[in-house]
Amino acid sequence: MPEPIIIIKELTRKFGDFTAVNHISFEVEAGEIFGFLGANGAGKTTAIRMLCGLLKPSSGSGMVAGADILKNPNLVKSRIGYMSQRFSLYEDLSVMENIRLYGGIYGLKKALVKKRAAQLIEKTGLNGLEKRLVGDLPLGWRQKLALSTALIHRPQVVFLDEPTGGVDPITRKQFWEMIYETAAGGTTVFVTTHYMDEAEYCDRVCIMTEGMIRALDKPDILKKKYDAGNMDEVFLKLAR
């Protein structure tokens, strides 16, 4: 059995008197699609920000992709990909310019960026649109491009923070196909979402309420355990 790719122990973050994340512990296996659910304000974003090395935990420890999130956040950053709910590519740069920028920031050699850019464009179906400004692309395409760009340096884990917000159902489906492909390629996918049908696509889901983990298991097991027909019911029972 290989080491889990994410190991979190008693992770806590306080903002003044308010405890946003309260002693959470969990592990994520390599190659898993790990769903991270919770109502707004449950502490999901705070947790994800700590895992990515963006926010210092108040206490607890965590290893992500073999790097310590407390001692070596920069090493964490170089081994993960991240795509946030807010669109994060530069709209006034072209498709190719965005890819080159992020490739460069992640320290990839020029030739490698060129090679991966070609693959990426092929995969996202953006052929012929390389010089188009990202702001001129439809939202769905932009999200797909953002995901591919977050994967340009072949990270071991990719964090997706509500990646499908505001996207139409067809694009959402295509997007999840990309997630499956990514996971099949060996990259662990850590995804937060509000769509409970998406939770069904995950290998395991973790449900947070009030800064704590209420449930963590395979969707089928959770449904049985809480006597629910779908994940929506599970969520409503737990999150209330």
Binding site: G53, N74, S78, L89
Partner: protein, 371 residues
């Protein structure tokens, strides 16, 4: 560190792609320079004067003629009585009323004391002082002339003959004084406002977050964001300098290299202020307001428009922490006086301290807000 290259590339792509940014950066400042250099002047010309001549004598006419011939005064009318004259003053039609009393000529001829009343509109006190001085010198000239014509001893005491030589700006050209200062403004706007706004924009649209999860260091990112504005600031100074030389014939007595060296340090200081502002703001509106506040205070107290020496002492002390004041001063010293590095070394040191200080504060605050 070679990751800075990619940030730089991105910044320049974005700046040059933005169709509204380019004219804002390069064309507007030049227009500003052309307009402000011609409009911002302390010289007071066209002082409107209303004459209340009760005497109607030859001497009275000669005095009025003196006012008419002066390049500073425009005689816009004659009043019949006191009331009419004051009306003109109240209605803001004139700046000064000169009242020549009855028996003006007669008394003069008999060597008696003669009084001329001048009522000056003193709402703007410094303008009033100038008007008063001009009027006095014309009247003095007139009385000397009368004395000479009537072969009289001018006065019991011979006044010393004072002659002035105007150093560093021999023709008292106002543009020569203003243009170097205005150049400072142009550079400052780019350095302080645009840089701050640019950084906050990344926060606003969320790309900052994305950059933060990449392994690029904060230092490298900030340098990559600030360097383009430093370069643009320097180019803008060169451009403005070119216009000053070609259009306004401003003399450059000192070393151009020294001037640009100082500007280089100055820009680092000003960029530090922009950065500091951006760490305090989460929206462009906030950043705009904050930098506007700094800019207005700094400019008004920079000695660009009003001499620092005539400010109250506490305000003079405040200018010690105003980088714009230093640059305006150095600009004028080097361009007009030909001051050398030795002459301005104190200012150089102060500016270097500002550069370090502001950036230190900014980075300190930047760290604090991001953990």
């Amino acid at each position: 560190m070679n990751k800075i290259k990619y940030i730089l590339q991105k910044e320049f792509l974005q700046i040059f792609r933005n169709k509204s940014m380019l004219p804002l950066i390069f064309v507007l400042p030049i227009i500003q320079l052309l307009i402000m250099a011609n409009a911002a002047t302390y010289e007071i010309k066209h002082i409107n004067i209303v004459v209340l001549d009760v005497d109607h004598s030859i001497f009275a006419n000669q005095l009025v003629l003196k006012f008419e011939q002066s390049p500073y005064f425009d005689v816009i009318g004659y009043a019949d009585d006191n009331e009419q004259a004051l009306d003109a003053l109240y209605a803001d039609r004139c700046d000064i009323v000169v009242h020549i009393p009855q028996y003006f000529e007669k008394n003069l001829r008999h060597g008696k004391m003669v009084k001329i009343y001048c009522a000056v509109n003193a709402i703007n006190s410094s303008k009033a002082a100038v008007v008063y001085n001009y009027a006095q010198s014309i009247i003095t000239q007139f009385s000397r002339q009368i004395d000479i014509e009537s072969n009289r001893e001018t006065s019991t005491i011979k006044a010393p003959d004072i002659r002035f030589a105007n150093w560093f700006n021999p023709h008292l050209d106002y543009k020569t004084f203003m243009v170097p200062g205005i150049l400072v403004l142009l550079v400052t706007l780019v350095g302080m406002v645009l840089s701050g706004l640019n950084l906050v924009r990344e926060k606003e649209i969320g790309t900052m977050e994305q950059i933060n999860v990449t392994p690029i260091g904060k230092g490298a990112f900030i340098i990559g964001k600030m360097l383009p504005f430093w370069i643009i600031g320097m180019v803008e100074l060169a451009l403005g300098m070119g216009v000053s030389l070609l259009v306004f014939n401003i003399p450059v007595e000192g070393s151009m290299l020294l001037l640009f060296a100082f500007a280089a340090v100055y820009l680092v200081a000003v960029l530090g202020i922009g950065l500091l502002v951006s760490t305090f703001s989460s929206t462009q509106q906030q950043a705009m307001f904050l930098s506007w506040f700094f800019i207005v205070v700094f400019i008004l107290m920079s000695g660009l428009f009003t001499p620092i020496e005539s400010m109250p002492l506490w305000a003079q002390k405040l200018t010690l922490i105003n980088p714009i004041a230093y640059f305006v001063k150095v600009m004028r010293m080097v361009m007009l006086k030909g001051s050398t590095f030795y002459n301005i070394s104190g200012y150089f040191l102060a500016m270097a301290a500002f550069a370090v200080g502001f950036n230190f504060l900014a980075i300190l605050n930047y760290r604090k807000t991001s953990t």
